[in-house]
Subunit: 405 residues, 2 copies
Amino acid sequence: MSWVPESAGSLFDVHNLPYGVFSLGGSARRVGVAIGTSVLDLTAACGTQRSPHTALFDAGTLDPLLAAGPATWRAQRGEMTGWLTDPAAADRLARHLVPRADVDLHLPFSVADYVDFYASEQHATNLGRLLRPGQQPLPAAWRNLPIGYHGRAGTVVISGSSVPRPRGQRWVGEPGSRVALTATERLDVEVEVGFVVGTPSPRGSSVPLQDLTDHVFGVVLVNDWSARDVQAFEYVPLGPFLGKSFATSVSPWVVPLAALEHARVRPPVRQPRPLPYLDDTDAEPWGLDLQLELRVNGCVLSRPPFAGMYWTPAQLLAHLTVNGASLRSGDLLASGTVSGPAPGEWGSLMELSWGGTRPVRMPDGSELTFLRDGDDVVISGTFPGPGGGRLGLGEVRGTVLPATG
Amino acid sequence: MSWVPESAGSLFDVHNLPYGVFSLGGSARRVGVAIGTSVLDLTAACGTQRSPHTALFDAGTLDPLLAAGPATWRAQRGEMTGWLTDPAAADRLARHLVPRADVDLHLPFSVADYVDFYASEQHATNLGRLLRPGQQPLPAAWRNLPIGYHGRAGTVVISGSSVPRPRGQRWVGEPGSRVALTATERLDVEVEVGFVVGTPSPRGSSVPLQDLTDHVFGVVLVNDWSARDVQAFEYVPLGPFLGKSFATSVSPWVVPLAALEHARVRPPVRQPRPLPYLDDTDAEPWGLDLQLELRVNGCVLSRPPFAGMYWTPAQLLAHLTVNGASLRSGDLLASGTVSGPAPGEWGSLMELSWGGTRPVRMPDGSELTFLRDGDDVVISGTFPGPGGGRLGLGEVRGTVLPATG
């Protein structure tokens, strides 16, 4: 238990300790750790404590920590846990606590490559039914491999960044009719979880399932904003492009994999059994019991359960590298939209409004199909900690602005 | 005319002056400019000349030059041209010339996002005929917008890097039959041209056609290596992924747009006329008369003409940003495979061997469909300079290694 006020039993208990980058009133960026309702200024605390890890936090970004690798991740987390649970350290460290409400949060690491998967069977099935009615809803290779694509790393933005409604070419009226450049009329969210790579791997080698924790540092929440009409017009045959590339928001607190120990669960049984490089039947399980929540203007629209995802992060990583593609520190692997079997567990408006045909009635009496200017979107998440408590992933938020230009 | 020996009239005449990054026998990396058969060590020459641009070249990468923007690009090129054409400067500068044959060349800039387009009508038509026989060969939106997707920036490698044959899941036998993880049997090349972004643009804004030269610094040759069997198995519905992400090779010399003045030609007439943001009918023309060449083991397989590309780099940039996606310094926009109407102008083995059904007879008597272990692939290119001469884009080279693992 930590001496930090309001931490014990909270979502940011000492068993969580996610890392972020903050500034105070325009000051230089510093690395911090969320605990209770505070942020511990790690850049300052390491100095006070004469920590061997001080140099990792000088640059005001998580990049050096990510690149330092798993032995350092363990040692630094252990050291920090020691400080925060040792009442004798409180005198020296309390002055490095800042109220979380007072800080400005920044993109915590440099995104190298951003890859987005499609790992929820329910989401892929729903989208297949909506977009290709009358056909098999799952793409042919879906159960053979985690389908994915590269997104735009340069437009990954921190929670709180506003999202101007993007323009794009689309059908005006029925498909096959007139084409125009307009603001999207089908702006959507995708509730996702992102895995942040720390340790690189060389080109020409593959990362086996069991090496996940050597390479992946931690987890963020992701909102993969999508313009469905733009995407529908452009995506054959090379996949989503401008329908996705205008913005992808991530949560500010990177929860280390080490904090997720009690969230690990067996993934679903896969049929057919995957090829050996993806077969985790006899491996340590990497299903994760993350309970997500999607709110628009404060109203809870769904609670997608990550535990049911067909493909685990270990499988995403093994597949991404099976062709010899290298990993870089800062690579971001997103899960794809998380959707469970029940409608209250679907992670996109495309599904929740069934392609816009079944509006969601909002508390203010309005009907929601796709996002409207001014809508405020929040994705949050929690997971089991030790002793039956719950810990938090924080939240990723964004507000839709009117189209410009 | 330059005082540098063997430069006048060569592909690396003083009218070209492409930038690269080199080292000599393991020394620190330096920025250089190719001229004749030499490299001018810019990092050193700027010091000798007390140039105001010295700081741009200290880091041994083109990144600071790219970020400096068009006014600096013009000024620095003007200054350098002055040195190289002023016989009085020869005494001071000749000692900063290094034989090009002696240097090691490196990836000249940090690749931010890598985007690959599909801008050749002939290539898209050929691929459509091969992959979707009996259907309209061009995808529905193809004449409305430049179709493209994001590739893996982390596996963009410098010319000369070897390319281990990648593994991937694919059909063994007919589509729909058994699936296995094997080394690709359909390793291909794609002859492309890449445009290197210098000046960034903010998220939420678009770059109009006429602003190309404010943002794009220069041009490289690209080999977008492709595993056709892996790609065919995985690409529905999110596009190419592991079939492309194992390696993309670029040429070492970035030719500034300013050197391409005499290569600019009118692009083909587009029918239907594109929407206004893509309509270049009354704009300065950005078709480019780049004459490319594909050689395998020294044998010329084709000479793809870039001049016939349906979409110009100005249109690629305008489309990429029309949804408000930001640009970063180091973004790489590749054209997609360049193919002309004649079979001797096709830029991939998929086309040249017509899906593997019409092997190419090689000078050694062997038959080539897709690449074999040990095959050496070279893409080179030239373009018109002033006074009827030709200038060079250099070359991008790679050798196929056997699969590992």
